[in-house]
Symmetry: none
Subunit: 145 residues, 2 copies
DNA sequence: ATTAATGTATCAATGTTCTAATACAATAAT
DNA sequence: ATTATTGTATTAGAACATTGATACATTAAT
């Protein structure tokens, strides 16, 4: 059945960005998972289908899928297609922690180069937190679905 | 008095890690800033001094320094040396607060784009603080003659 | 002015990443 | 069984990253 569009997620590539094609694909898949456009069990565009749509080589799509499969995000089945894995949530947490560590270290370094201490930064972010709390109040940080 | 070690921060390189030398240097400088072993105005090892100590080419050290200078972390002065940027001296309290706000907002925005909530970030930075506070490390950075 | 210290620039050698051409293999549909 | 659809593997070449040899430029000290 070929009812759906090949690229129903509207993936796009920016050749001028300097970011490798396969990484752009990975990022957009991650985003789609993060904002709920892709859920456990969903099928992704086929390697060839997406390759045609993006006008790149199927291998480049396959590489993006392969890397996400190694991370446990996707599951590829020859003959059937590529799907969002069910166990993605746990492995995603590890990736999330790594990314947060990286972002935080970079930020602290930069702030420290301006002479701000870690305590000072944390205190300020506490104030920041209070400011934004009067706006929206639907942050459940520590539980997962 | 010229007896201070060239590599008083005890930088090391791991050739087997797969991480480029210049990136290892950057990371160790960032860490030293984050945990307070390096502060505004401090001089870093000279390009040649550190290169000799690490047994690599001066260009590799220079590249690490250069990248940190582009990011505003370091300041290199030909003939004098390389120093941790000391922007805070020129700043009054208002400017200082404005910069911290700017840095913080940028960081939070970026982290939020990865799906991290403000609470999550603050919690993580709290852990970071605890880690670096137990900082009576095994460093005898002073000369021991 | 000279020298010694510092960072900077240029270029080449080597290794790695990225993408594509092409062929192969497994599964589903018929 | 045959065919269409799917992912997979191999290889090659271009682009980029990494490091080092070497020479240059600026500043501080004398």
């Amino acid at each position: 059945m070929e009812t759906e569009s090949k690229n129903f997620l509207a993936f796009t590539l920016d050749p001028k960005s300097g970011v490798p094609f396969y990484k752009q694909i990975i990022l957009q898949i991650e985003m789609a998972i993060a904002d709920g456009r892709l859920n456990c069990g969903d099928q992704l565009p086929t390697v060839r289908g997406l390759a045609v749509d993006l006008q790149i080589n199927p291998n480049t799509v396959a590489r993006a899928y392969s890397e996400l499969e190694i991370r446990g995000i996707l599951l590829s089945q020859q003959g059937s297609g590529t799907f969002i894995s069910d166990k993605k949530i746990k492995l995603n947490e590890i990736e999330r922690e790594r990314i947060l560590a990286e972002l935080t270290r970079t930020f602290i370094t930069k702030a420290a180069s301006y002479g701000f201490t870690l305590n000072e930064i944390i205190n300020y972010m506490g104030e920041f937190e209070n400011e934004t709390e009067k706006g929206d109040k639907e942050n459940d940080t520590n539980d997962k679905k």
